[in-house]
């Protein structure tokens, strides 16, 4: 059996990868994918704990997260398309109309 710490380590690596991608990348779609990566990193730690403690609530929580992520993807992609139609770019540094 794989020890819990391995799962958690992988989960942490995934999450940090997501954060770094979010901070570094300029393309909105890539940023969106980084968010998914962070969510899935967290999901991994949830299921790992659920298996470790033999508790179902962690698994259930992951379903909720996946539902929210799916909804978010639907809304997010729609926004991205709208942004692209008006701005003709997906570079976040140029989507800055709220700036001072």
């Amino acid at each position: 059996m794989v020890p819990l710490s391995y799962y958690l380590l992988l989960s942490g690596i995934l999450f940090v990868c997501g954060v770094l991608g979010f901070l570094i990348k300029r393309n909105i779609i890539t940023i969106f994918m980084s968010i998914e990566l962070m969510l899935n990193g967290v999901n991994l730690s949830f299921v790992a704990f659920a298996a470790h403690w033999h508790a179902l609530s962690g698994q259930v929580f992951v379903f909720f997260v996946m539902v929210v992520a799916a909804a978010e993807a639907a809304v997010g992609l729609a926004i991205i398309i709208a942004v692209y139609r008006t701005r003709e770019t997906l570079n976040v540094d140029q989507v800055n109309l709220l700036k001072l």
């Binding site: 979010f22 901070l23 540094d93 989507v95 800055n96 700036k99 001072l100």
Partner: protein, 658 residues
């Protein structure tokens, strides 16, 4: 002490008139305004007569407590009124002369745009003046005192579009404020040491104190501070400067407020406080000296004035000096007697001067008058009577009161008497000078061809509906009051002064003062000495008349030559001894400079404004630096969130380890 529920009605009636005219006068007809103003001031006069008819020395003084006002521990001040012989005299003078001047104003002010305003102010003045004379304690008196100051300010600046009138109003108000400061401190001293402001309580407390013969004590301090207040209100040295400027107001105002009633409030206040002054000989002496000096000083300025109202203004200051001289030597009843006769003849002089100004279209310069006896015989006759009265020619009113004062002054010190007689001579001279310049000789004014020619160079902003070809007599609504006052000027002194009737009437008020004690020696007053002094004062009055006749009727070109030969002295007198300029250099300019540099630039701009502006600047600087967090850049927001999250986790881990 008898309660009398009618007392409070006297002041409240004119207040009602003032309120009605003030609130609704703008839309009312002039007839309605006149009716209201005259009915309410006349009703006050009727009330005063009713009170006088039912007045008896057995039941006097009357009092009436209208309402509680201040109650703090054992200290209490109520809205209460008080009527004794002294306030009865003042009451009759104020309502009587006031009513006559209301009638006169109907004619004089009829064509003015601010007619309703004027009538409302006049009624308001009556209310405050009656509050002043009917007060039972010093604080209610102070309400009236400040109120007449307000009414005076409003009426001096009545033609407020004229800069000089607005400035004169301000000057009167500010100079009076200096006097009021002294009055207030005196009140504070009374509260501290006697625990009351009620006349009866204060005087009872004072009577238990010894006379301050050696050195100055509490009573001397109170007396001097009260005198500061009186000097402000009654235009005595050094605070007299506002009164001549107050002539910017309409002439009925000059007659009512600045001659007959308000300016005598200081004399009334000193007489009312006679108990205090009696026990403070030093304060008495200061009162006498100030009065004597003012009488002489103002009279000399009066010689060289060419504005008819300015002559009368300085004459008023001088006559008020006489009244203070009388109070200062302990002859309070003589001072009040002169106050009464002065109200008659000086009110008459001002109203007659107003009639002259009205008749020749707003001209006030006597050099442009002359020969008016032909055009306005009634004005000439009544003003002539008033002049004889003020000069002290027997048996007119001024003779009785002035002679009484001079006799009492002589008993105190011959110096007062001498200065008083010299002043009487000057008074007679400048009054007859005024008469000859105004009514004698030929008319020197320009007879205008066009309708409004005169108004262009008139001092008074008094415009007429009709043109001015020739000087003309005033309407009867103005002459009526002149005639009534002339009758009073002729008989008022004799009726009251004969056999010292007036003094005996007032005796209960001034009981225990040295004046009464002196009088107690049986008719010692009517000695040969008194008759001799009487002859002297009548003699100098005649001499003044003669001199004025010689200079201004027989040889009208002579005064100019005398003036030229006197040179600097004449210029100093004509320019009022440069007192206004002196005050400007000594007080006004340092005050303005100090206020500008220290208070305005230093405190207001340097401290208060600076504190507000600097805190705003600091807030802006902080915001300027922190607003860069809100860059609008998505990734920088994400960075802040990540950094924040990292800090929170680090904190939790660190705390968890501990």
């Amino acid at each position: 002490m008898t309660p009398n529920p009618y007392l409070w009605l006297v002041p409240i009636l004119p207040l009602a008139g003032a309120a009605i005219n003030g609130f609704f006068g703008r839309r009312s007809s002039k007839k309605a305004i006149s009716t209201i103003a005259l009915v309410f001031s006349g009703a006050a006069f009727a009330m005063a007569l009713f009170l006088a008819a039912s007045f008896s020395s057995a039941s006097a003084p009357y009092y009436f407590d209208l309402a509680h006002w201040i109650r703090s521990g054992s200290f209490q001040v109520d809205f209460s009124f008080y009527l004794d012989q002294l306030s009865l005299v003042m009451l009759l003078v104020v309502t009587g002369v006031g009513f006559l001047i209301h009638i006169y104003s109907v004619g004089y002010m009829w064509d003015d745009d601010g007619y309703y305003r004027f009538m409302s102010y006049l009624n308001l003045f009556m209310f405050f003046m009656l509050t002043l004379v009917l007060a039972k304690n010093y604080l209610v008196m102070f309400i009236g005192w400040e109120g007449v100051g307000l009414a005076s300010y409003l009426l001096i600046g009545f033609w407020f579009t004229k800069d000089s009138a607005a400035a004169a109003g301000k000057k009167a108000f500010i100079v009076n404020r200096i006097g009021d400061f002294g009055f207030l401190i005196a009140l504070f001293l009374m509260i501290k040491h006697f625990g009351s402001l009620d006349f009866t309580h204060v005087f009872a407390a004072v009577q238990s104190l010894p006379t301050e013969t050696a050195g100055a004590g509490l009573l001397t301090a109170i007396g001097l501070l009260l005198m500061v207040g009186a000097a402000g209100k009654s235009a005595q040295i050094p605070l007299y400067v506002w009164l001549p400027d107050a002539m910017e107001g309409p002439t009925p105002v000059s007659a009512l407020i600045h001659a007959a009633t308000m300016v005598t409030a200081g004399v009334y206040m000193v007489a009312r406080s006679s108990v205090i002054f009696e026990r403070a000989p030093m304060a008495m002496m200061v009162v006498a000296i100030i009065g004597t000096l003012t009488a002489l000083f103002a009279a000399t300025i009066g010689i060289a004035q060419t504005d008819i109202k300015k002559v009368l203004a300085y004459s008023t200051v001088s006559q008020l000096g006489y009244m203070f001289m009388a109070c200062g030597v302990g002859a309070f009843s003589a001072g009040i007697f002169h106050l009464m006769t002065h109200a008659f003849f000086k009110g008459l002089l001002f109203l007659a001067a107003g009639s002259v100004i009205h008749g020749i279209g707003g001209e006030q310069d006597m050099r442009k008058m002359g020969g008016l006896r032909v055009y306005m015989p009634w004005t000439f006759a009544t003003m002539g009577i008033a002049t004889l009265a003020i000069a002290g020619i027997p048996p007119l009113a001024g003779f009785w009161s002035k002679d009484e004062i001079l006799w009492k002054a002589f008993n105190a010190s011959w110096v007062y008497w001498l200065i008083g007689v010299v002043t009487a001579f000057i008074t007679s001279f400048y009054m007859f000078r005024l008469m000859y310049m105004t009514f004698g000789g030929e008319y020197r004014g320009v007879v205008a061809q066009d309708a409004h020619g005169h108004d262009a160079h008139g001092h008074d902003d008094h415009s007429h509906g009709h043109g001015h070809g020739e000087p003309h007599e005033s309407p009867w609504v103005m002459l009526g009051p002149l005639v009534v006052l002339a009758v009073l000027s002729v008989f008022g002194g004799w009726v009251a002064g004969y056999n010292n009737r007036f003094e005996h009437f007032l005796a209960p008020v001034f009981q225990g003062t040295s004046d009464v004690a002196q009088e107690a020696s049986p008719e010692a007053g009517k000695s040969t000495l008194e008759y001799l002094l009487m002859v002297v004062s009548v003699g100098v009055a005649g001499l003044g008349w003669l001199l004025a006749y010689l200079l201004y009727s027989r040889r009208p070109q002579l005064p100019a030559r005398i003036a030229a030969s006197l040179g600097g002295l004449y210029r100093a007198v004509a320019n009022k001894y440069y007192i206004d300029e002196l005050y400007a250099v000594l007080f006004v300019k340092p005050l303005i400079d100090g206020s500008t540099t220290i208070l305005w630039h230093g405190v207001d701009q340097g401290v208060i404004d600076a504190a507000v502006n600097d805190s705003a600047d600091a807030a802006r600087h902080v915001s300027d630096t922190t607003r860069h967090m809100q860059s609008g850049n998505l990734r920088s927001y994400a960075g802040w969130i990540a950094a924040g999250g990292a800090v929170v986790i680090a904190y939790m881990v660190w705390m968890g380890v501990r």
